[in-house]
Structure formats: C-alpha cells, structure tokens
Symmetry: C2
Subunit: 819 residues, 2 copies
C-alpha cells in the first residue's frame, strides 16, 4: 500500500550472516558509504542542525527586488547542508549524481582558464583518478600479499612448527633442504610436527593422535577467533561480500559496509578462517577487501568523496583489483568486474580498472608470497595438445559442473534460509565451532583434505613430470623413449595412484557436503576455491580414468590414431582444470571472465576451447535447473533492491499495472506549486512515509511541474523555520519561478524551487513494463512518474518494479525489503 516509503524495514533478528541490521551500526566511521557533507544531519531532532556559517535571511525570496522584479536567488545559491544526500539502506539517483559531477567538472574547466593555480588544480583533478587507482592497486596488492603469507604460515602451524623460528612456514623452514616435493617434505629436519615436538617421535598411533588433536585444536582456535572478531567489531566482515558489493555498485547504500573497521577485521579474520581449514576460499573476500581499500582511499579526493556515482566507478575498478590479486589475472579481473559485479561501467573505468589490476598484480608479485614469482599457487603449464574427441569428457565435466552448481545453490539457500528463520541463527559462534570441528575431524585422516584447498588444486592441476614424486604421479615406469621432451607418454598407474583415487573420491563427497553448510556462516568465506576444488577432483578422477582407458585400450576405435602406445595423449591435469572451471561456472554463472581467468592461469590459447566447452555446457545445464547464480540468490535472500541487468523482463504488463496508487487506493499525494502553506506540507509529511512528492500546477489539472525529495523538503523547512525571519506555519510555499506579490499582512513566503527536481522522468501509462525496466536499469532511476494524456497519474519506484518482477516470477513480493 505504501509507495516509495522511507521506512527501512529492519530485517528479522537472524539477518545476513546471522546478524540483524539493527546492531550493525557499530564500527561506522568516516569511511562510510554515505557521509558526504562531513556533518551528519539528524533531522529528527532539531537541536542537531549544525549552525550555518552565513545568514540566509535575504536569500529565501522574501519580497521582491527594487523594480518589482522578483529576486531570482533561492536555495540553489547557498545549498543547505544535507540537501542532496541519501539515507542508509536507500538507493541513489544515478542521474542526479552524474549531473552533479558534470557541474563540478564544468566549474573547474571554466575556472581553469582564469589563473595558473586553477589550471594546476584542473590538471591535478584530471589525474586524481589515476593516482587513486595507483593507490588502490598498491594497497590491495600489499594486503593480498600479507594475507597469502599469513595464511600460508598459519595453515602450516596446524601441523607443526619450525625450529629455526616459529614465524617460518613449512616451505620457508625447509628452504635449504632439497626435499621439498610433496612426498618428502615432512622429512626436513628443522620442521617438527607437534607430535615430534611433544613426544619426540612422529611414528606410531599415539603420535598420530597427538597431531590429529593439535590440528583440530588449532582449527577451533582460529575459527573461534575469527567469528568472535567479526561479531565484536565488524559484523559486515562476514560472508563473501560479493552480493552486497553488487548491490552497492547498483546504487544501494549500506553505511560502513566498506569502512575501515570492516577492512581491518575482514583482513584479519580472512587469514584466520582460511587457516582454520574450513572449506572456504579467500577470493570473494579479497574483492571485498579491495573495495574497502577503494572506498577508504576515495576520501583523499573530494571528487570521489562527494559523489556516489564517481565513487562507484572506483569500486568497480577495485573489484577488478580483487580478482586480479586473487587469481593473478588482471584481464580476467577486469572482465569479472564488467560481467559479474558492475552496474555502471563506462569505458574510462575499464581502462582505469585495467591499470589498477596491473599495479596490484605487480605489487603482489614483488611481494612474491609463494616464492615462485607467480601470483597464485596453481599456475600451470601443459605440454601436450588435446584431441577433438576429448571434448566429450570435457562436456561431461560441464554437465557435472552445472548439476553441482544448481544443487549447491539450492542446498545453500535452503540452509541459509533455515539459519534466518529458525533458532540455528541465534548461535553463530557455536555453529562456526561445530562446523570447524566436523571439518577438521573429517579432513585430517585424508591427506587431500588435510592440505589447504589451494595446494590441493595446485596438486590436481599439475601435469605429472618425470621427477614428480607425489602420490598422484606414481606411475609404473615404462621405458621412456624420448627423455629430452617435456611430454611424457601415458603410463599404467601404480598402486599409489589407485589409493589416491579412493582418497580423492572421499574428498569429493566431503567437500561437496561441507561447503554447503560453510558458505554463509559468520566468518569471511569465499566460494571460488571450494567450487574449483570440487571440480578439480572430479576432473582429475575422470582424467586418470581416461588415461588408463587409453593406455589399456589404445586399439579401440576412439583412441586409434592419436593414442598409440608411447604417446602422451591424455593430460589429467587439464581435466582437473576444465572440471574446476565447469564447477565454478555452475555456481557463479560467470562466462567470459571465467574462461579468461583460466586462460591467464595456463597462458595457452590452445586450452581455451576445452574450457569454453565445459563452461558453456555448465552454464546451460545450471540455467536449466535454476535461473539464478549464487550471488543473485543471496541478494534475493537478503531482499536487496537489485535490478538484474542480465535477465530480460518478459511479461506483457504496462506501467499502469505496476504504478501506485492502485485503482482502489486514495489518489497520489502531491504538492501544488503555489497553493500550500508550511503547515499543510508538514502535515502531509507527517501523514505519509513516501520518500518524495510530485509537484503539480494545481490539483485540478494534475499537470506535473517537478519532484521534490522528502528528505530535502524536511531539511529545508526545518532550516527555514530556524534561520529565516518570519517563516511560520501559515507561510505559503512556492515552487514557482516568480513569487506573486503577497497580501500586506501575510507572513513571508518560502521559496523552494531550488530543491525541486525540474526534470523528473515520466512515462505514459501505456508504456510496456519491459521498456520501463530498461529505462530504470540503464539510467539508474529511483522513481519515475506516470502520466496519461499529459496528466499525472501515479508513480513507479524501483521497489515497485522489483516487487512486480517477484510477483510475475511467482515469488513473494514482500521479500524485497529496501527501496
């Protein structure tokens, strides 16, 4: 019934990540998303209005100029602080913000012709965007490097400690020993497992149990610290953050979501959560961390601090930076931002994002967190080409990825909904501890789940070389004919490979189940790495299977010609990579960016085709089983006002079916341009909760003049009553250009044309809703007025559209919570 309402419907007690939004205001600070004017105006209590520096007495249009010509000065000349800002949990008006920025730009350009100083300022203004990008890249790259190093160290800490110094991780500790390959790295003398340290030996069941126990204890300690820090200091630091960032980039305001507290706590707890061995990754949270960096650094530049639209350009670039450092893929990161996260992405931002992503990648590389001059643990180089027939298993992997993606989204959303609606959500710390305990207890016995998930993926992607001594590369030795070449012929699997297959199968089932309950808990948790791990395991299993099939049955028709004995025809590592792409694609529904990220990991254009085939299949299968990707599903679960730009609105409804008021409702609340007194307007504001009112010529004609925001109206009247002589309840409010002469004894009028939007968007009542949705998406509107034959008839807000879309898709329209 309420149209365009201000009332922020607080989420129930078990909101996102198990916390209500009411209690989320702690930790907001200067870096908040909204604070634009420096001083926050709390206009519910009049005492808080900050004293104005100048007297506005003469500028409210009191009386006329000397020759009876009315003064043209109005509020525009001296903006009241707070006018033009937004409330928390509201949507910005893109058109207004962009227009504001153009005004600012125009002003600087005009001034720059006057003096050298102004010219310098204009130049520094033009380059501030680049400087900001440089800073974002440096900061995010440095943070990512720190996170990688700390997580590496703390993951190893669960297994043992270095005698040279507890601050060395396992690899670093064994730097000088040559036995750093997978199998023998436990034999490095300086690295002591906890059992060795405590009972002096690493053999026997007692030592095993000791190591097991220490592993679980560390895991519990890390996850307890993580969840406690999140709860105590920055509730927004939980989860992956990508759904919220998508919503923020589309124009929503969540104060403090990208603030400095969130950044600090998310960085620390991310390390803890990853180290605790939970089935989660750091990629999604890294995007959040990079966006926090972007938002905080925006405060250094007025241009970006003051403008919500400009700031979102920086955040789009920051999202690219996040993926760039997570996967060492700058181009993939930019495409990820373009495809998956961003809403408004002009070409200028594309170029700047690319720059920032590169700076971040090179910063990370100079930190060299993995000691191999690579940006990620799982960079691979394959040596042998693939055969056209292999597309069949690749497409099978795509189908698996699609089914798993759709299943995961359903299961995870069902679980998260249960957390929101049942008592489960009341005990977030307990939940995290239980899941950690279960994960650690089940993970330790299996070496493939015990190692960190990135290491597992790296292991699975790896193409077995001659000298590889890992379990997965334990093939029977056949006479190698050409040692000089990098490519090894297919060989029969040794016993260790069969053991590994069993362990991997168990790991697959374990990862598939535990990830469902892990994602959405109250710790920072990314989804990329667990999804990729599931796919990589499945792919490697299939790959080894294919390889053995090809080895033992190379005379079959399908293998004839390309799998002769001694030829290297199947690369199981490639299957793992294709599987990883398929599963990640099924969960997130990424397409181009996913393929490009994977391309940047392998470096060979040749492997794009398998990746593309699998990703395409996976997306089609997953889309057939459920329209939404995981991020859209979480956005909808949380009721954010997000207008998806990918989905076509395909119903044949008209604007008049969606607009308010409905046929049976009372007519639209409007303000007339010259007929209402301060008192009448105040009572209109008190009686309704709409966030804005159309201004019309008269109630009879209903001809539209403009639109005024409730917030601006309240602030202006409040301000005028306090600061302007003689404005009382009986004063008339004018939105006209010229104030007509007032009767002698009447109180001075209040001119408010300056706060009125003179160019409100209108559509006719016969406009098809698909066109209206398109206009809202492309222009980023908050509301649009509906006219019929030139008369004002109603209003459509973004929330109305989202509710209508939910209704059309047979979903609950009340699930849309914010405007």
């Amino acid at each position: 019934r309420l149209l365009f309402n201000l009332e922020v419907r607080k989420m129930d007690n078990t909101g996102y990540c198990g916390e209500s939004f009411n209690s989320l205001q702690s930790g907001t600070s200067d870096e908040d998303m909204v604070e634009i004017t420096g001083a926050t105006l709390d206009f519910s209590s009049t005492d808080d209005v900050p004293p104005l520096d100048r007297d506005y007495g003469g500028s409210y249009g009191v009386g006329n100029g000397p020759n009876g010509v009315p003064k043209l000065m109005d509020l525009l000349d001296e903006p009241v602080p707070g006018v033009g800002t937004y409330e928390d949990f509201n949507t910005i008006d893109w058109v207004r913000e962009k227009s504001k920025d153009r005004d600012r730009h125009r002003e600087i350009a005009t001034k720059s012709k006057e003096s050298t100083l102004a010219l310098m300022k204009s130049i520094s203004d033009a380059f501030s965007g680049w400087l900001l990008m440089l800073l974002v890249g440096l900061m995010a790259g440095a943070l990512a490097g720190g996170i990688d190093i700390s997580a590496h160290w703390m993951t190893d800490l669960k297994e043992g400690v270095c005698l040279n110094g507890f601050w060395f991780n396992h690899e670093h500790c064994c730097w000088n020993s040559n036995e750093t390959t997978f199998q023998e790295r436990d034999k490095c003398p300086n690295w002591k497992s906890w059992a060795e340290l405590i009972v002096g030996t690493n053999d026997g069941p007692f030592a095993y149990i000791m190591n097991y126990l220490m592993y679980v204890c560390w895991a519990l300690l890390f996850s307890f610290l993580a969840v406690s820090l999140v709860r105590a200091f920055a509730p927004y630091a939980c989860g992956s953050g990508i759904p919220e960032i998508k919503t923020i980039l589309s124009g929503f305001i969540i104060r403090g979501y990208l603030g400095k507290w969130t950044l600090m706590i998310k960085t620390i707890t991310l390390v803890l959560a990853v180290s605790s061995g939970l089935s989660l990754g750091k990629e999604g949270p890294l995007v959040h961390v990079a966006c926090c960096c972007g938002n905080i650094l925006c405060h250094l530049f007025t241009k970006y601090r003051r403008n919500e639209a400009k700031r979102r350009e920086v955040l789009s670039a920051a999202a690219a930076v996040g993926v760039s450092v997570a996967f060492g893929a700058p181009i993939g990161g930019v495409l990820f931002s373009l495809e998956e996260v961003s809403y408004y992405f002009p070409l200028k931002t594309l170029w700047r994002s690319f720059f920032a992503a590169l700076v971040a990648a090179f910063t990370l590389r100079s930190i060299n967190p993995f000691g191999n001059s690579r940006l990620v643990l799982f960079y691979v180089e394959f040596h042998s080409p693939w055969h056209l027939l292999e597309l069949i298993p690749f497409i099978l992997l795509g189908i698996f990825g699609g089914i798993w993606g759709a299943f995961f989204i359903r299961a995870n959303i069902a679980w998260c909904r249960r957390r929101k609606t049942t008592r489960l959500g009341h005990y977030p710390v307990l939940e995290v501890l239980v899941v950690t305990a279960v994960t650690a207890l089940l993970a330790f016995p299996n070496s493939y789940t015990r190692m960190s998930t990135s290491e597992l993926i790296s292991e699975l992607f790896n193409d077995c070389g001659l000298l590889d001594s890992s379990q997965l590369c334990n093939y029977a030795n056949v006479s190698v004919t050409k040692i000089s070449s990098d490519a090894l012929p297919d060989r029969p699997a040794g016993p260790d490979v069969y053991t590994a297959m069993w362990q991997l199968s168990l790991a697959l089932v374990f990862k598939m189940l535990i990830t469902v309950v892990t994602f959405g808990m109250k710790v920072p948790s990314g989804l990329f790495i667990p999804s990729m791990a599931v796919g990589a395991i499945a792919g490697r299993l299939l790959g080894v299977g294919m390889e053995q099939l090809a080895y033992y049955h190379h005379d079959w028709v399908i293998f004839r010609g390309w799998c002769s004995p001694g030829a290297d025809c199947i690369t199981p590592g490639l299957y793992a990579m294709v599987g990883a792409a398929a599963c990640l694609g099924g969960v997130t529904r990424m397409t181009v960016s996913l393929v490009v990220i994977m391309f940047e990991l392998t470096g060979g254009l040749e492997y794009i085709v398998p990746l593309m085939a699998a990703t395409m299949t996976s997306k089609w299968v997953a889309d057939a089983l459920g329209r939404e990707g995981i991020y859209e599903a979480h956005i909808r679960l949380n009721g954010y006002p997000f207008l998806e730009s990918k989905e076509e609105f395909s119903h044949k409804t008209l604007a008049m079916d969606v607009m308010r008021p409905r046929r049976s409702d009372p007519p639209l609340s409007v303000i007339t341009q010259d007929g209402m007194s301060v008192e009448e307007v105040e009572s209109l504001i008190a009686e309704t909760s709409y966030s804005g009112f159309p201004v019309v010529v008269s109630h009879e004609s209903q001809r539209l003049v403009g639109f005024v925001q409730r917030r601006d109206l309240v602030i202006s009247i409040e301000n005028a009553r306090k600061r302007q002589e003689g404005v009382v309840s009986a004063s008339r409010i004018f939105f006209t250009e010229y104030t007509p002469p007032q009767p002698p004894n009447s109180p001075p009028p209040l001119k408010l044309r300056g706060i009125m939007d003179l160019s409100p968007f209108t559509v006719t009542d016969h406009t098809a809703m698909d066109i209206v949705v398109d206009i809202f998406r492309k222009l980023g509107l908050r509301q649009c007025l509906v006219t019929h034959n030139g008369r004002l008839l109603g209003i459509i807000t973004k929330k109305d559209i989202l509710k209508h879309m939910a209704q059309m898709a047979n979903r609950d329209p009340d699930s849309i919570l914010f405007n």
Copy 2:
C-alpha cells in the same frame, strides 16, 4: 528550420572515398541492411502497394459491436506491410526494435507450452544465435585465411615467380631448401626473380632495373584492378569501413554497405590493394568483411533478419571476429568491439562474440596461412625482462606515438577534405595509380619498404637470436659465455646494423608521408599495419640506440647494476613493439583492447607494463593535441549521425535551448487525436517533411497522447484508401481507443491507434542537455518530446542534438547530414 526531416541531403559529388551516395545504390541486394518485409514498399506511387492477402474491411473500426461496445480491433491485429520499417540513411529506434524482439520472444515462449513442435522451435530459436556465431566464425576465419594466402602469393609475384608452379609463393617454393632466412632466401634455386627469368641473371644494373620495372608494373596492375573493381561493382568496398560500421552499429542504416557484393569485391580488392605494396593494411577491412559475413548470415534466421537491434548484436560480434583473425587475438578482438566499435553490447553478446572470435581464430589456424601454426606473421617471444629505467624510453615512444597520431589525423583529414571539395576527387582511378607509382618507385630501392609491411613488422619485433642472419642482427661476435640460454648478451653493432639504421630512418619518413595520402583512397585500406610499422621502425631505432649506448657506456650511472658487460639488458624488438603500440594508440585512441591485442601477440604478462605506459602516454599526448581518433574524425567528415559515447557533453544548456520549434518559428506541427480528416492529415504530410508527428488531445490543451511516424502514417492512409470501403478525403482519423458514434451520412472513420507509439519519450524543458544526451545514448532514441508543466512544447531529434553539440564545439552544425 526543418525539424526531424526526411529529406536525405545527398552528399556532394565527391563523397566518401570519392564517390557520391546517389550512385551507390547499385549492388544492393537481399543482404541489405534494411529490407525487412521482403517486398520494398515504394509508397510514392500507389501502384506498388502489394495486394494484401486478406480483406481488412471489418477491422478498421467501421461502426460498433452488437451492444454499442466499440470493436477493439484495429490495425495492430493485421500489420500493414512496411509499417515499422526504416528508410535508407535513417536512424533506427532501439527501444522499438528491442520491444519487438521481446514480443516475439514472449510469443514463442507462450506457444512452446502448447505442443512439442513449438517447444522444439523455441529451443532451436534459443540456439540459433550460437549457430549463427559458429557460422560467422567459420566463414570469416576461412575468408581471412584465403586473403592471407593470396596476398602473400601476389606480394611475392611482384618480385619473381616459382618454377615449380606459378601458384607457389616464395616461401612455399623454397620449402625444401634450408636457406629460408631473410638474407639467403633469394638464393633458393627454384625461385626466379623477373630479371633471372627474362635476362638470365640477377646481377648488374640492367637486371636491377628490370626487377624494378616489373615491381612497379605489377603494383600498378594490382592497384588498377582494385580501384576499377571497387568503382564498377561495390563503391562501399573502399576505405577501412570501421567509421561506417561504428555508425551502423549505433543504429544508422546504410543499405548495401554490408551486402554480398560489398563482401565479394572487398575481399578481392583487399588482396589486390595489399599486394600492390601501397602503405595500407588488411586489419580494418577484415572487420568490414567479417561484418558483411555476419549480416549475410543473419538472413538465415528470421530472428535476426527481421530485427535491426538483434542484427546489430551479431554485427558487434562480427567486428570482434574481424580483429580476432587480423591479429590472432580473440580476447583483444572482443575488447576492441566493446571499446571501439559497439554501441549496444549486452553481456550475452560479449560471451557470444568471444565464442565467434575463438571459432574464427581456430579456423584460421587450421588453414595455417603462414606455415608456422601462428595466426599472425608477427608473433614474438621475448626472453629477457625489462628494467624499470627503460620506462623512460618507452614513455618517449609514447610521446612520439601521440604526436604522430595527432599529426596523422590532422593531415589525413585535411587531405580527405581537399579530395571532397576540389577537383582531385573527380579522378579516383588516377589518384590511386599515381600514389601506387610513387609508392612503388620509392619503395623498391629500400629493402625495408620493398618487403610487405607485415613482414617488416615481424622483422622489427624479432629478438635477434644467435643464428639470425638478417641485416638487423649483424652484431660483432663477442665470446658468448652461455650458449645454452636463449638470451644473448648485448653486443656491439656490426656495419650492417648501421646500414639498416639508415635505411630504416628513410623508411620511417617515407611511411609517415605516404600513409597520409593513402588512407581514404578508393581502395580497401586499413590503418593498423601502417601505423604499427611507423611505430615499430621508430622503436627499433631507439632500441638499437639504447643497446649500443648501454654496451659502450655500461659504466654510466643509469646503466650500472643492470647492464654489466655480457648481460642481455636491452631488447630492441621490445622497443619496436612498444613503439608500434604507441603509434597505433595515437591514431585510433584504443586503450585496453590495444594492450590486450599486444599481450596476446607476446604471450607474456610481463610486457604489459611497458605497453601500457606507452599507450597511456600516447593517448594523453594525442588527446591534448586533438580530441578525436581517426575513426571519429572520418565519421564527422562524412556527417554521419553518430553520438559518441566516450565524450562527455559538458555544456550547461537546457532542453528548451535545443528543441524545435525555436522561439521565432511557427508552432510544432501536431495531429489531434480525433479532430482531423484524412485530407487535413495528407496536406500536413505534404506541407512538412518531418519524419513524425506528435498526437495531442486538442490544439488548445496540447496534452500529449502519442507519436506517429510519417512513414507509417503515409503507408496506412494509402493502404486504407485502396483497401477499405468508403475511406475518402473527408473521413475523420481517430487515434482514440473508442470511436465516437458518427453522424449518419458521414464517411466511415479511419482508426489509426495501432500505428501510434503510445509511449513516446518526454523530457521537461528544464532538463539539462547533458541528461538528455545521456538518455539518447543509453536508450538509443531517435527523438524525444519536450513538455512544460504537462503541455507539449517541442521536439528534440538526434540530429538536433548532434547539431547542437557541433555548435557548442565551434564546428559547423550543417556538417551533420543525416538524421
């Protein structure tokens, strides 16, 4: 004075590529951009209206239904052929086209629930886009392969012929001989230069003159053939095509520009033009060729044949395909399409473009035109890293590229304008022959200009190996300490290198000057390769200079630490590549796509930073010297209605300053919704030349009801007069939903609500022009109505906006020719 006029102002006699548009209608065919209904309606002569299959008698709203309820049937039920199509040289209405496609989609989706056949149709409809992309990729890849092979052969034909068979090119001819390196390839026994063939020897001045003469003759023959074919069969085949494709993608219609004749002739003449040795490349024309393929293949699918917006999605993808095959860079191609060419590029198109670009790249690779499994001649692999200090020469190259780009654009535009306005444009064949003769005469003596430009670039990009025997790699032999490594230490230059430096300097000046007059001639001509060649020469010169400096002065402060003797510290090939990127960036103002294309050529993420530094500098320098890239400059030269999406409109004007009618003009021509007779409307049409009329409630109220296109109105009245009983001049035209009862003896009314756009876009007269421009760009409007307080006041068309922008930039507003 005329607003929104239909009158296509024919270009003067020396229009684009020296040909007027009047004579360009030859060669239009089924593949034309516009023919949608199958039969073209020439509504100026009534005889041509095709007979309708059904009698429309009852559906024109004659009389009311049984209970006095008026019939709701109107023209919408049975669309008159021709309604909703566009004229040549007009702009499409994106909103209408997209809406039409959604209607079609909705219809198919509804039907698919009814029968299995309809479901199959719906699925095949959904996959037709992918099939189309596959076909476009295959066709464009195959054509590109053919062009590469033919151009290679014909370029070699200028120098000699193969005795094994005249159809072998030089490299193919010497396949079995091992001496295929640059210096010794002339010694292959089966390949005979013309002098050898005719006078039996290749030595002495006479043989040289003989070769020289044959070279010039072949060049003249090829260019004469090219220009004659273009003139005779497909005038649109000239030039690079990218400016026109940009305009077409933004919604303009040029019939026949992407037709089958253009495709055939452009493919053939491109080979001829490249082989003739003119300073032009095949990259731009390849984009045109790929777009022709896309447009022609669209005709296989109703979905794309019938909808101008959908077809443009395919063309955007085809543009990506063109660059993908030109540079072997699928990702770069997609980004090029996104950044440089496309106007409407939804994410779905991004994914499909990527697919098509990959298919094309793999098709081309399987054709293997260069015999090295690479997609391009100038794929390179560098071995040594670069040093931070080298950024200084890279930035210098960027400055050079920017200055050259700005100079080139100015000079080329001045030359093209001269061609259009003076007698020069009357002799296109002569012009081409003279330029070819000059090019050939000057090019032959210098081996670097004699070889094809791609070969030159490949040579310059090449990092000198130990076994390289080319002139550029003739370094003095120093004791090589580590032969096993690929990296060679810096060595002092030998005498041949100094000779090469001189020749390259001359080649640089020659290329810089000749390209200015070549681009824009009446042959297919791309700009990428000549620009890259200029930059590569400059870069190589600087690179060799730096290398020698570092060798002889390795004790200087700047070289200390990284250029010790015996170290490989400077790679001249990298300088050439950076220079090429800088010059190409200066001319086209590409950014991300350029860097990604170059990245795909080198394959190493490491070299992105130098490329980026140079491209960024080059763009900034070029932008400071002149705002427009070469394509925008050519669009403006030709007066196309192209609304640039990159440039911000920064002037503070309002909609009322731009709209027509102006204050002194007669009021806007409108149609009332129920008051006008057929005769009155016909005379309104005859008196004005506007392409559409607003429909209002009444002349007094000026309240807007809708908007009707002139073309639709003419067709409908014409049709009604012929087919519908009793519609005469005195019949009244109704745009209302219900027709009021008519007086007994009056002629039957004509209901035209069906052809009226019920949701015309409106803005208020106070809307800032920057917002209006934004709306036009983002929604792809043709026109927008302007209201004041709910009353219709005027109209703004795309042409009005472009004229206003031209005026604001102190350019001639009459340079905008089309609507």
